[in-house]
């Protein structure tokens, strides 16, 4: 099944729900199992939350771009915001004892836990997050979180 679709969305909570729903629908249509669909949709939700909340800070003039692409090996989801770019050096490890009881800071960790590859590319004009999930029958399957 070929797939390449993108959406330009407002910086709202509705966008977060919409992104999750689209991820759920597309992953289901591509034949992923229930657990994988949940993982993909949750990773996309976390990416959308980061884009809307931390990237664009709910600014009405800033948009979130959400794109889905089915390559021969992967479902690739790209989430791009128009913020100032995340500082990758300032992402705390949520599993560190001193961070366990913090009320935020788990979004990227969950994305990396649920997807096969996560690429994060910050720039001064925004942050682009690419989420990869191997499709059935393709090689690989290991967790190779990267930035």
């Amino acid at each position: 099944m070929e797939l390449q679709v993108s959406y330009t969305l407002d910086s709202t909570l509705e966008t977060v729900d919409h992104a999750e729903e689209q991820a759920n629908r597309i992953a289901t249509e591509l034949g992923f199992g229930d657990d994988e669909v949940m993982q993909i949709s949750m990773a996309v939700r976390e990416g959308a939350v980061n884009a809307v909340l931390h990237g664009n800070n709910y600014a009405p003039d800033k948009k979130v771009t959400l794109a889905f692409e089915r390559t021969p090996e992967d479902l690739v989801i790209t989430i791009r915001d128009q913020g100032h770019g995340i500082n990758l050096d300032c992402i705390p490890n949520p599993l560190a004892p001193e961070n366990l009881l913090k009320t935020s800071g788990r979004g990227i960790f969950l994305m990396r836990s649920f997807m096969d590859v996560v690429e994060i590319r910050p720039s001064q004009t925004g942050t682009e997050v690419k989420l990869f999930k191997h499709v059935h029958g393709s090689s690989g399957g290991g967790k190779e979180g990267s930035q």
């Binding site: 939700r45 976390e46 009320t103 969950l110």
Partner: protein, 114 residues
Amino acid sequence: MSMKLSTRQVDGVTIVDCSGRITLGEGSVMLRDTVRDLLSKGNKKIILNLGEVNYIDSSGIGELVSAFTTTKNQGGELKLLHLTKKVHDLLQITKLYTVFDVKDDEAAAVKAFK
């Protein structure tokens, strides 16, 4: 499905029955407001029954942590009851499963309060 909360009292313990989704926005706010309201009224023995919670995101996890620490800081105690597999797995992944006091049996959870 949005989140629904209802509270009941069992032997001096407040049980908050939660259903639906605990996610950024309405679900997280409802949970926060409910716990704070209980604490402000002196109800410091709290069980969050998550048996009907079918989805939780990182904001929802943060809200559970907030409820736990807020209750503890006010001299109270908060336990989690009836985790669904999804919530259980999320708490395992985030290493929070051992932080929370998690129970599977309501009567035992109520009795476990000091």
